[in-house]
Each structure stands twice: as C-alpha cells, then as structure tokens.
C-alpha cells in the first residue's frame, strides 16, 4: 500500500504502447502516481510489489490475460482489496460479464476518453477507501 498523503498509485496494464502512454501520461498530468505493465505476468509482479491503489487492466494481454491476472490478484491476500478497472476494446456483453465474474469493479470500453477514465478511477478510489474505512 502506498504511503499516506502521497498521490494514489495507479497501475496501468496494457500490451499496446500507446494505450499505456495515453492513460499513464494523462493520469500523471492529473496528479496520480502511475506504474505500467505490458503483460499479465508483469502486472502481477508490479501489483504484488507496489500494492497500487487502483489497477487499470486491459483484458487482451499476451500470456496471462487480463481476466486471469485479475482472478489471481483477487485470490491473493495482498492484492484482494485493490479495485481493478477492466479496460477493453471488446464491445460484447459477454466479455464484460466475464470481467465482473473474475472480480473487476468496473468495465470501461475503449475507446475511452482519458478524462472519463480519470472519473472512473476516482470513483473506484472513493469506493475502496470507503471499504477500507469500513474494514480497518
């Protein structure tokens, strides 16, 4: 978990370079601390290591995909409480349902304006802090 009073740490996971860059740059611009991962395995390592406040998880990833990575995060004691926002270019409802099943708190369809994504991140952070207060 990040230090108190520090800006929230967002882990942006996307195998596409510009995908990571757009959201990472915008969130940093907006004052968040940002870490990035290009595949599922890296995402897991970074998550366990950095304990981000929220994770933006692209679902179509090489190797361990976004659904599998989320499932593992939700199975691990250390990362279970971190909200995961699924990011996907899949427009089909089935992809969204599957994401919620493995533990994603929200699903955002690409293309997504960075501004809208920031709003969702803030919503999740607010929800997570409420939950943390509820369970000290």
């Amino acid at each position: 978990m990040s230090e108190a009073n520090a800006a929230p740490l967002v882990l942006v996971v996307d195998d596409v370079d510009h995908g990571r860059e757009i959201f990472a740059e915008y969130l940093e611009f907006r004052g968040f601390r940002v870490a990035t991962a290009a595949d599922g395995l890296e995402a897991l390592e970074k998550a366990f290591e950095l304990r981000p406040d929220v994770i933006l998880m692209d679902l179509s990833l090489p190797g361990i995909d976004g659904w599998e990575a989320t499932r593992r995060l939700k199975q691990d004691e250390r990362t279970r409480g971190i909200p995961v926002i699924a990011l996907t270019a899949h427009a089909l409802a089935s992809a969204h349902e599957k994401a919620r099943e493995v533990g994603c708190s929200a699903v955002v369809t690409k293309p997504c304006l960075p501004k809208e994504l920031e709003q969702e991140v803030r919503r999740q952070l607010a929800g997570a802090s409420e939950e943390n207060q509820a369970k000290p």
Partner: protein, 697 residues
C-alpha cells in the same frame, strides 16, 4: 166185400216197409174197395208234438200238407177224437159244434177214426173219412185198424233201428269229441252241463276221493266257466277264460268259442269249445316281447344314429363314412356339397362330383390296402358349383368290428383353401414386410446420411456463426483499439497535457475528435445490427411502465432540447397498462426516434404520445415533429441501412444512417413494428407499436 180184397190189402201193407206208403195204399184201397171218395191220414209227430197231415185222397194236396194240430190243444174236437180211441162222426166242422174247425175234407159229414194204440204210442194217428149220410162201413174200420197195426209195427221196428243207430252214433260222437283235446261242453239255458268231453271233464269234474286242492280247483273252474257263460250273452264271439289245471295247478288260458244249438223244440243250448291258448299266448307274448325289444333296440339305434347325424352335421368339415368297398354310406351336409349332385343339376356339376368321388375313392382304397389304422393325404377336389380347385387335407380312420374286421372307414376332410390363402397372404405380407423393412433400412440409411449431413452443416453453420461472431468481435476490437489511440491523443492535446496550443490547432483537433466520435457511433451501430442479425442480441423481458421510460428518455435528451428552441411535449393516455418487454431495447428505439425528431426539426414542436388499444392488444408510442418531413418516395427505404432522406443534412446532424434500421430490427425483435406517416416539409410521425404481452407469454 170179399175176403179176397181184404187179403190183397193185408199183403200189400205187409210188403210195404214205408209208413207213408202204407197210408197211401190204405187210402187207395178205401177208394177202390169201400167206395170212399175222400179221405185223409194225419199222423202224430213225436218230435214236434203235433198232428200233421200225411196224405190225402180226393183232396187238395196243399190243404193236406198244411194240416197241423197241436197235440197240447186238448179242447180241439179232433185231438179229443185222437185221445178218445173211438171213431167219431162229425156232421160237419161248422156251426153245429161248440168249437168250429176246418179240415181238408171241407164242410161235409165225416168220421174221425183213431189209428192203432194210445196217443204218442208208435203208429198213433187219425184217419178222416168223408161219409155223406151213410153209416160207417165195417170195411173202413177194419182198414183203419189194419193200417194202425201196421204203422205201429213199422214204428217200433224203426225205433229199434234208430235206437241202435243212435247209440252207435253217440259212441262215435263221444269218441270224436273225446279225441279233441280241447274241452268241449254242451250246456242248457241254465248252464247245466249236458255233455262234456274228456278234456272238459278233466277240468270240470272230479271224483269224491280226489285231493282237496283238486276239488277246489274244479269248483273254481266251474265257477269261472259258468261266469263266462252268463257274461258272454248272445252271439258266438270268442272269449278268454283262465282256468286252473287241477292236476298241475298252473293257470291255463283258453279261448272260448261258443255256438248256440237247439236241444229240442223251444229249448236251446250252448256248445262251448275251449281252445287252450296258454302256449300260444306265451309264444305270442314272447313274440311281442321280442318285438318290443326289437323296437326299443331299433329306437335306440335310431336315436344313436340321429345323435350321430347331429354330431356329424354339426361338424363344419366334410365327414364321410365308407364301407370296405369305398362306397359312401353316410356323409354330413358339407360332404354332400362336394359329393352329391343337387336335384335338378347335371352336366358340369355332375362331372365334377364324379371326379371328386373318384379322387376320394382312390384315397380311401389306400387306407384299406394299407396296414395302418390311419391315413392322411391331400385331395385336390373341385367345387361342384364353380369348378374352382378345392384342396382338402384328408384324415381317414378304419372302423374295426370286435372281431377286427374292417367294417367302415371314417374320413374327415379339412378345407385347405383358407390355409393356402393364408399361406399366400402370409407370403405376401412377408414379402411386403421385407420390402418395407428394406425401405425402412434405406430410409434409415438415407436419414442417417441426411442427419450426418445436417450435423455437419449444423456444425459448419455453428462454426461459421462462431467465426462470424468472432470476426465481428475482432473487427470491433481491432477498430476500437486505434480509435482509442486517436481519441486519446486528441484528448491529451486538447486537455493541454502536452502544453497549450493555438486556437487554429485546437479547432482542427476538435474536427479530429468529432470524426473519431462519429466513427465510433458507426462502429457501435454496425455492431448492433450484426448482433441482431446473428441472433446474438439477448432479450431481457421485464414488466415495464412506459411513462417512466419516457421520462428517462426525456431527461437524457434534455441537454439537446435545451440547445434548441423546440417545444417538446408529452401526451399520456390514462390507465396505461404495464407491458412485458425488454426495457433497454424500447428505450433505445424511443431515444433514437426522439433524437431524430430533434435533429430534423429546425423549429416548431416535437410531441410524444403514448396510448393503447386493449382490444388489439397493442400499446404505442408516437413521436411527431413539425420538421422537414420525408418525401413519399423515400418513406419505403428510410428504414434500410445508411439511408437518409437528406444525406447532407443528416451528416451535418451527426447521424450514422443506421438508427432507423436498428430501430426497425429491434421492434421486430420485440414483436412490434414501426410505422411512418410523413409529408415533405410538414413533419413526420414515427410510431412504435408493441404488444401488451410478448408472443411467448
């Protein structure tokens, strides 16, 4: 008169042996030698007890012969004269007498001179001589005495001869009747037995010293016999009489034949002949018994035969009984049908019957020839009526007597026609069944092939469908990813992440952003159409309140409305029912229709009307505008993809050209429809009709 004349008469009478001739001779002598003109001789007949006219002279023969006096008539002057024994002179036979009478001599004086001895004695009689006025001559008296004496002598002599002869005849008669074994009896009117032959005596008489039983038997027999005598009455009809044999004690049956006889004048008797019919009766009874038994046996046989006939006739199959020569002795009606010619039929029928007979006889001869008791075979007969082949299965059995002789054969024929027909039918059925089986097999194989093909096709279709879906997903994904970059970077630049830009740069970036958004809308709409068409658009049916839904839509487009000068209103019918439908889809349609109305109405008003028709089971939402309207020629194609009535205008308004196409597809999906009423330049009304209940409900 001379003695010579008298001597002549004496000689003549002595020479004559016959009494009546003597009388005739005497009368003739009186006429010739004593001058008597008329005279008559009457003689007593002991048998009849009468005085009868015998012979006359100078008199009517008929008068003489009819002369007859009853000796019992003792007051008659002539009978008195006869009994007196002295000659009596009668002046006449008429008025002078106390009792007048007639004689053949007529009504002239005459003498009545009794002949010979006393009344009833042999030779008794009366000589009547007419005398005129003259006194009776001595010669007449002499002649009368002579004739009386001679007649008496003749009478006595004859009586002696008769007596001897009677005795002899009686002996003979007794011998004769005794020789007859049947009892013969003569009885008088009182039933007293006058004569009985030996046979009768044996039954009806006994000596005193005989046994008590015998006496009793005889007494009983007498009683029984007497009873029959008096029961028989008149007539000589035969009667039956049971007597007891006094010696043996057994009963004897007699048939009694009777004949009345005259015993003497005025007294009749009865001859009874008893014919012993005991043995005859026994024999007759035996015969009768035998006959009865025979009849009973015959009746039993007949009954048995009738029963046999009944049994035979009740058998449906032909049954025949044949003698050892193979000749048919009996048969039942079914057999008769095959082996007899009906009355009045001949020709072909007769010929066929003969054929049948020959076939049958030949078959039965096999049985007689063989050693076995039974013989089985098949006979191909002909139906006598139709000539159709009549196949029969025949079973023959020998009928043996107790001595083991073959007395007959019984044959039962079983009609094979039906069996053969059944067999044929069975073959046909089997054949058809085989054919059917073959067809079923073929059909099954074909079906299996078809199934396989279908399965493969289904698999291919499924695969194709899956591939299509996957393709769509991929296309969508692949389009969205670069679009995300375009929109993302544009946004970064516009947000000033990379520093401030000039106004011209910002304007151009805004154009990029707008086109990227349009592209995204198009991609989303295309994806919707694809999903609907591939059946991947799931329906979530809920109870929906349309007024609430319209409120939601209105609030969503509120920012758009606020940017126009349009007057937007709602008209809701009261008591609208809830409907069961997919809320999201309905909302999408209404949103689309309302967006279109707002887009294509530069100024004026937009109205949403909500109403229903319970009878038609429909509820509808009508969106009317006072906008640009749609030309009639475009109204049909407006619902097709990428069709916009006014393309340039539409593009300016940011439509994808897919909205109405999606709306119509969604309406179909919800079992509803969308109609359009419009006039160019005057506005349009799009109406969504929905069923109150979904089809599946």
């Amino acid at each position: 008169m001379g003695s010579k004349a008298k001597l002549g008469l004496v000689e003549a009478l002595l020479a004559e042996q016959e009494a009546r001739s003597c009388a005739v001779l005497t009368l003739r002598w009186l006429a010739r030698d004593a001058g008597i003109e008329r005279a008559m001789c009457a003689m007593v007949d002991g048998e009849s007890g009468r005085l009868e006219g015998w012979t006359g002279m100078g008199l009517s023969l008929a008068a003489v012969e009819s002369f007859s006096l009853d000796l019992a008539d003792r007051t008659h002057p002539l009978i008195i004269a006869l009994d007196g024994g002295e000659p009596i002179a009668f002046r006449d036979s008429g008025q002078s007498l106390p009792r007048p009478f007639e004689t053949p001599l007529g009504n002239s004086p005459f003498y009545a001179i009794p002949l010979a001895g006393a009344r009833n004695a042999p030779g008794s009689g009366l000589l009547l001589v007419s005398s005129g006025e003259s006194p009776l001559l001595e010669d007449v008296l002499w002649a009368a005495e002579l004739l009386g004496t001679r007649l008496a002598a003749l009478q006595y002599h004859r009586a002696q001869i008769d007596d001897r002869r009677h005795k002899r005849e009686r002996t003979w008669l007794l011998s004769i009747i005794n020789a007859v074994t049947d009892p013969i009896l003569l009885t008088d009117v009182d039933g007293r037995i006058l004569i009985a032959n030996a046979g009768a005596e044996r039954l009806l008489t006994t000596e005193e010293d005989r046994s008590e039983g015998r006496r009793r038997a005889v007494a009983l027999n007498n009683m029984l016999f007497s009873a029959t005598l008096f029961n028989s009455g008149a007539g000589n009809k035969s009667q039956e009489l049971v007597l007891v044999d006094p010696s043996e004690g057994q009963e004897l049956l007699f048939e009694v034949l009777r004949a009345p006889v005259r015993l003497r004048p005025g007294e009749s008797g009865l001859v009874s002949v008893l014919r012993n019919v005991t043995d005859l009766r026994r024999a007759s009874e035996e015969i009768e018994e035998n006959y009865r038994r025979l009849r009973a046996a015959e009746a039993a046989t007949r009954a048995e035969r009738d029963r046999l006939d009944l049994i035979l006739n009740s058998v449906f199959d032909p049954v025949l009984v044949t003698d050892p020569e193979g000749k048919i002795m009996r048969m039942n009606p079914p057999a008769e049908r095959m082996f007899t010619v009906p009355a009045g039929r001949g020709g072909e029928v007769e010929r066929r019957v003969r054929v049948n007979d020959a076939v049958f006889t030949s078959f039965v001869s096999n049985l007689y020839a063989g050693q076995s008791q039974l013989w089985r075979g098949e006979l191909n007969l002909l139906d006598p009526e139709t000539g159709a082949p009549a196949p029969f299965e025949a079973f023959s059995g020998k009928v043996l007597s107790k001595q083991g002789e073959q007395t007959a054969a019984v044959t039962i024929l079983h009609d094979l026609t039906e069996a053969l027909e059944k067999a044929q039918l069975y073959e046909q059925v089997k054949h058809h069944s085989e054919e059917l089986k073959e067809r079923v097999r073929e059909a099954t194989a074909e079906l299996a092939e078809q199934n396989e093909l279908l399965r493969r096709q289904a698999f291919q279709l499924e695969q194709a469908s899956a591939m299509k879906s996957q393709f769509l997903a991929n296309v969508s994904h692949e389009l969205r990813t670069p679009l995300n970059a375009i929109m993302g970077y544009t946004h970064l630049l516009l947000e000033g992440v990379s520093g401030e830009m000039s106004r011209a740069q910002r304007d151009k970036l805004a154009r990029v952003d707008a086109n990227a958004r349009h592209l995204l809308a198009v991609i989303n709409d295309l994806l919707d159409i694809a999903r609907i068409e591939s059946g991947k658009m799931p329906l979530q049916v809920d109870r929906v309140r349309l007024p609430e839904l319209i409120d939601e839509v209105m609030s969503e487009v509120e920012p758009v409305i606020a940017g126009t000068r349009l007057e937007v209103s709602r008209i809701l019918s009261p008591e609208l029912p809830e409907i069961e439908t997919d809320r999201q889809k309905v909302k999408q349609i209404v949103l689309n229709l309302l967006s279109n109305a707002l887009k294509f109405t530069p100024d004026g008003s937009v109205t949403i009307r909500l109403d229903h028709d319970c009878d038609a089971g429909e509820i509808w939402i009508a969106v009317s505008d006072s906008g640009i309207g749609i030309a009639e020629e475009n109204q049909k194609t407006i619902f097709e993809a990428f069709e916009q009535a006014n393309s340039s205008y539409a593009r300016r308004q940011g439509g994808t050209g897919l909205g109405l196409s999606i709306c119509r597809r969604l309406a179909d999906l919800l079992d509803g429809r969308i109609t359009l009423v419009s006039k160019l330049g005057e506005g349009s009304t799009f109406t969504l009709f929905l069923p109150c209940k979904p089809r599946s409900a």
